[in-house]
Symmetry: C2
Subunit: 220 residues, 2 copies
């Protein structure tokens, strides 16, 4: 029997690649996504698409309580999304506090229940400077906490934590992923807006790689 | 201005004492409880009572998604509650997997939002053998993870982790707590059943201390 792994993913470039990557390692994959009334809820349509396609089981967990405890993030309210390149300052407004620990702790509970041996999630090197819960030392600490908190000593791994976004998409391209079926835009309208920082980063990633960007943008 | 602290509490003996204890240290206290459709939801009435009385702000967070990922626990379903003394084996059925990490991660998110410096929770020495997420090494690990995950380096503390339940109630008695306004019983009916392991432990605690048990039990 294949070993079980849970993958936390959102339908974005990185975590969709992660899902394919973990599957390619031979795990029986269980997918988990989170609905926190994010403005870009549209990502969940893509999560569902891949969840159905690649996972033994896929769940969307409602954590809309986030609004009750963290109303400062522009991803959870009507504040304007920064329409510039990622910089530390303009992106701080997109921080959803402690999001990774919350999502991981729920994924670990599910892992304990189905006797999965690992939980994977997808932070990468470009996240570091802005998001403290995407850094290698956080990954080490939460992995340790998870092993101690569970009867089955469940491990948490972040295989992309030391690589760049373009390297993730390079890997995904080799794995044959159709990236038109992923979502990045913070605005969450019908098409990718092409202007928000998430769209700009998406565009740049394909440009660096020198491969065709399959995304339809409102503003090219 | 007083320093802010968040206290995770449920309306039981231990965590109600914790709330009073943290308040006695001079913190401005923010209370958080969790509704996970626990069979003994009645504890939340008592949480609300103390939350209103002692906290600057009190929230009950809905984490009823627990049922979706962890249906093995007798506290979340209709399986029979063990009617014996606590033993490792018969109590394992009452384990809600990774409950503490989930609750703490949410409390930490709130702490980040309101700039609280600490999150307190109430595991104690009698919990050790059954619940891995009540042990000192878990407390250390999750404290480290929390400090790394947050801009404000929020600390997690469990001041009762090395003491026994009767010592907690001894402290609470000195703090003048009215323990008739707390809830332990797993059955969650009108009165404490007097038979489940939580009731037995409650009775014993007052007996060890040699003080009058203010609880009304169905079966004395």
């Amino acid at each position: 029997m294949d070993k079980k792994a849970i993958v936390v993913f959102s339908g974005g470039l990185d975590s969709t690649t992660l899902l394919h990557y973990v599957k390619s390692l031979g795990y029986e994959v269980y997918g988990i996504s989170f609905d926190y009334n994010q403005r870009h809820k549209k990502e969940l349509d893509y999560a569902k698409y891949w969840g159905k396609k690649l996972c033994k089981e896929f769940k969307i967990i409602d954590i809309s309580f986030m609004k009750q405890i963290a109303d400062n993030s522009s991803l959870l309210n009507d504040k304007e999304i920064p329409h510039d390149h990622y910089t530390n300052e303009n992106q701080k407004i997109t921080v959803v506090p402690n999001r990774n620990m919350i999502m991981l702790s729920i994924a670990v509970a599910w892992a304990e229940n189905i006797k999965a041996e690992k939980v994977f999630f997808g932070p990468h090197a470009n996240d570091y400077t802005i998001y403290p819960d995407c850094r290698p030392d956080f990954v080490d600490a939460i992995n340790k906490a998870s092993k101690l908190a569970t009867y089955n000593h469940i491990k948490i791994e972040a295989p992309f934590v030391d690589i760049q976004k373009w390297q993730i998409v390079s890997l995904g391209t080799k794995l044959g992923i159709d990236y038109s079926k992923t979502w990045s835009c913070y605005e969450g309208k019908e098409k990718h807006c092409g202007k928000c920082s998430a769209c700009q980063e998406r565009k740049e990633t394909f440009k660096i790689l020198g491969i065709k960007d399959p995304t339809e943008y409102d503003v090219e």
